[in-house]
């Protein structure tokens, strides 16, 4: 009985002081936390690059993880509407609730594209606040890094100086890399692409790519055979150079279309961890540009 009591007390005891606990919804924000906090944060990433962040479930392992979090770093803009609110309610954790310092939504710090004018479900699975896939523009990463470093310093004031230094270091490396990427833009301007979902709108806006069609006729609704056939007819006279999709999206519609149009169907990295090469945010943009440059040739 005493042993049980001791075990119970051990469970109740606060966690050892030191690293803060960060719960990140998507791999890209996990990578950003790693850049800005390094060893100062204990990190849990809810999804992998192969999981659709729209349709995850509030599974038991995530409830356990978010219960211990000091900071939640997610995309927001309703991307995680299907699971994050439930996790927050189930967590029994006051620190991370909406409105508090432990609740960081990256999309709040950047300008959203494609804000719908008609908010109605007949338009598909739309996000009233605009397209939430904000991370594929390096300028957005820079802005969000600013805000996130500030937030980390607020949560963990003891290490505020360290977060400031890591931010400065990250941004100087990021600016150098961004300048190099900017230089490669000219080769890609106007590249005509078809995309499975509106996952690459920010990338297209940054690189001036021309996304001529999305395979989903309504966002979030899988394309039917008839819709694909209509799209094929529409694109046939002047086909795009490639069909792009994320690693978690169904490959069938894009391979079907690519085979009939005689163009490649490629999986862009989309986020970190999608490939052995794509270990961090730098590699994410590097690989994305490289894939697009390969298509161009």
């Amino acid at each position: 009985m005493r042993t049980v009591a001791v075990m119970f007390l051990a469970l109740l005891a606060p966690l050892p002081a030191g690293a803060i606990n960060v719960f990140s919804c998507e791999p890209e924000w996990g990578s950003l936390v790693r850049e800005l906090a390094g060893e100062l944060a204990e990190l849990t990433i809810a999804t992998t690059a192969f999981q659709d962040p729209h349709r995850l479930e509030a599974k038991p392992s995530l409830i356990a993880a978010i219960r211990k979090a000091d900071l939640v770093v997610c995309t927001g803009a309703d991307l995680e509407i299907g699971w994050l609110p439930l996790l927050l309610r189930r967590a029994g954790n006051a620190a991370i609730q909406s409105g508090g310092p432990g609740h960081f939504m990256a999309a709040d710090y950047v300008r959203k594209l494609e804000t719908p004018k008609i908010i109605d479900r007949s338009q598909g699975d739309i996000h009233p606040q605009g397209n939430p896939h904000v991370h594929l523009d390096p300028r957005n990463i820079r802005r969000i890094a600013d805000a996130l470093a500030q937030r980390l310093a607020e949560i963990d004031p003891m290490n505020a100086a360290a977060y400031g230094a890591r931010l400065a270091d990250f941004q100087s490396r990021w600016d150098t890399a961004s300048a190099e990427w900017e230089g490669r833009k000219t080769g890609l301007v106007g590249l005509r692409l078809a995309s499975h979902h509106r996952s690459f709108s920010y990338l297209a806006a940054w690189l001036d790519l021309n996304i001529v069609a999305t395979l989903e006729s309504k966002p979030g609704i899988p394309p039917s055979g008839a819709q694909l056939a209509a799209l094929l007819e529409q694109l046939s006279p002047n086909p795009p150079v490639a069909v792009i999709r994320t690693p978690y999206e169904n490959e069938k519609p894009s391979s079907w279309l690519s085979a009939r149009l005689g163009i490649p169907a490629i999986t862009l990295p989309y986020t970190t961890g999608s490939d052995q090469m794509v270990t961090d945010l730098f590699a994410l943009f590097e690989e994305t540009l490289r894939s697009l440059e390969d298509v161009r040739q």
């Binding site: 469970l11 109740l12 966690l15 999804t47 992998t48 192969f50 999981q51 659709d52 349709r55 995850l56 479930e57 509030a58 599974k59 038991p60 392992s61 409830i63 356990a64 993880a65 219960r67 211990k68 509407i81 299907g82 699971w83 994050l84 609110p85 439930l86 927050l88 309610r89 189930r90 967590a91 029994g92 954790n93 006051a94 620190a95 609730q97 909406s98 409105g99 508090g100 999309a107 709040d108 710090y109 950047v110 300008r111 959203k112 804000t115 479900r121 598909g124 699975d125 606040q129 605009g130 979030g220 609704i221 899988p222 978690y248 999206e249 169904n250």
Partner: protein, 528 residues
């Protein structure tokens, strides 16, 4: 009156006439077939006339004129009549009084002075231009800085604007409604399960079109400490519309250390499926043990406390106290609360593709004159007073390739119930045990399509004392096998076809159902 030209004008005119002549010459040499235009020749003449006022110029110019005109006439680009006109003009010029026929020396000095003036003039202009250029560059960089600041402000404004509206209805809670109905073909319909006295919305239903409940849900954060949720179930019963308060609860969100308290009317956490609204079920009716032991769904009017341990596996404990009368409890004044629940959940992941949850729960009820009334029926005559203890265990396992359920996924769930009741039934001594279980698998084989198979069964062992009552032991268990196929073009609509081989009654029945479930408005996340 024509004033005599000053010496400066003379020098200018001289140099200009020389340059005109040079042009003339060049023109003739370069392209002799194009005749000169007359205005050029006229101006040349005028300048020559003025220039000839200067003696020195007169000498130089007349020499040049002779050379050039000879070349011009020879090549044919200067017409002969032009020459005569020019000669007349030069003659006139020679006749023009040379008012200031100054000596050569003073003119040279004058030219030097002019040259130095020109130089100074030129230098001052250059420095003026340089100053203006520097000023323009400064302005341009200022403008660039201002433009980038303006861009930042515009960007920030647009971030602020897209990050949340400020309309008057911003604080409205999320409101959503679920609509459902079914068409069924049922021959052997039942309202009670042999060997059980049940209550609530149970039974096989009838043949024909039946409008299901309209669930009307409103929820939002109360403040930074509480979350509130209300669900009305509106349904038609014998021509009368009934509004039932299905849920009305508040939950703490502001407590630390994994603790959450819920109060009001809520779905008990005892049993996996009990936590879900019926529209979220994978089959068109609840499994038999839910119908037999919970009357479809066990509602608690009371409080619930739950605690999540700070472990990497989910390890959760909870307890509920129920003062309400929702079956299997019976509201009464003598025993408060009438029922209490203990539950525990354990869950985690296996690799990226698998997630699981195991639950155990215990529901203990002090029943006082519990009847078996169904909706719209008068109170049942037979009542039960005594103890009812229900133990339940549930397991859910979900799989999807890489944990990505977009294309394919599989869900397996099963629950086992064992109930022990003892007390007084209709004046007779009653000590019975009942069991029930179900196992189901749902296979999402394409993005919008799912196929499901379920077996559910209940068995009553009520002893031999209750022969002739509703609790008479049927001597066999009641079971069903169901197969369903559903199509969900979006997360908000679902059409389902279900076939059930129903062996609840002694005679088996083949049932078909076609069902729709649609959701409008806000629709919250479903639990795991």
């Amino acid at each position: 009156m024509v004033l005599p030209p000053t010496s400066r004008q003379k020098v200018h005119a001289c140099s200009r006439s020389l340059s005109y002549l040079a042009n003339l010459f060049m023109h003739c040499q370069r392209d002799s077939v194009v005749p000169l235009n007359y205005s050029d020749i006229f101006w040349t003449s005028i300048n020559l006339t003025i220039a000839s006022a200067s003696r020195r110029c007169k000498v130089v110019v007349s020499g040049s004129v002779v050379v050039i005109f000879r070349a011009g006439v020879r090549s044919g680009c200067i017409p002969v009549k032009t020459i005569s006109a020019i000669l007349v003009l030069i003659l006139l010029a020679a006749l023009f009084p040379a008012a200031h026929a100054d000596d050569l020396g003073s003119e040279v000095a004058e030219l030097r002075q002019l040259l130095s003036q020109l130089q100074q003039d030129y230098e001052s202009r250059v420095s003026d231009l340089e100053a203006r250029l520097a000023r323009a560059e400064q302005l341009a960089s200022g403008a660039k800085r201002e433009a980038s600041e303006a861009f930042d402000i515009a960007e920030q404004t647009s971030i602020d604007q897209t990050s949340g509206g400020a309309a008057a209805n911003t604080f409205n809670p999320s409101v959503g409604t679920t609509l459902s109905a079914r068409y069924a073909n049922i021959d052997g319909s039942w309202e009670d399960i042999p060997g059980f006295v049940t209550a609530g919305e149970i039974g096989s239903g009838k043949t024909g079109f039946t409008l299901g409940e309209v669930e009307f849900n409103v929820k939002a954060s109360v403040d930074d400490r509480y979350f509130g949720n209300v669900t009305f179930a509106i349904h038609d019963d014998g021509g009368e519309t009934e509004v039932e308060l299905e849920e009305a609860w508040l939950q703490t969100t502001g407590l630390p250390a994994g603790i959450a308290l819920t109060g009001g009317r809520f779905f008990s956490a005892a049993g996996y499926l009990n936590g879900f609204h019926r529209h979220a079920d994978d089959f068109s009716d609840r499994p038999l043990p839910y119908q037999a032991f919970y009357g479809g769904q066990y509602l608690v009017d009371g409080i619930q406390a739950r605690w999540i341990a700070p472990t990497s596996l989910l390890f959760e404990f909870g307890a509920e106290l129920n003062w309400g009368g929702g079956f299997p409890a019976s509201a009464n004044d003598e025993t408060t609360p009438g029922a209490h629940t203990l539950f525990a959940k354990l869950g985690g992941d296996v690799g990226a593709g698998n997630s699981w949850q195991l639950g155990v729960s215990w529901v203990s009820v002090d029943a006082i004159e519990r009847g078996g009334a169904h909706h719209g029926e008068a109170e049942a005559v037979s009542t039960f007073t005594g103890d009812s203890d229900l133990a339940a265990m549930d397991l859910v396992w979900k799989w999807a390739p890489n944990g990505n359920s977009g294309q394919r996924s599989f869900k397996m769930q099963g629950e086992y119930f064992r109930r022990s009741e003892s007390g007084d039934f209709d004046g007779l001594e009653y000590d019975g045990d009942q069991t029930g279980w179900y196992l189901q698998g749902v296979w999402q084989f394409k993005p919008r399509w799912r196929l499901g198979l379920r077996h559910d069964a209940v068995d009553a062992d009520n002893g031999s004392l209750l022969v002739g009552t509703e609790l008479e032991d049927p001597g066999r268990n009641s079971s069903r096998d169901s197969l369903m196929l559903d199509w969900s073009p979006s997360a908000y609509s679902r059409l389902r076809l279900q076939y059930t081989n129903d062996e609840v009654l002694a005679e088996s029945d083949q049932q078909w159902m076609l069902q729709y479930i649609m959701s409008i408005g806000a629709h919250g996340a479903h639990a795991f």
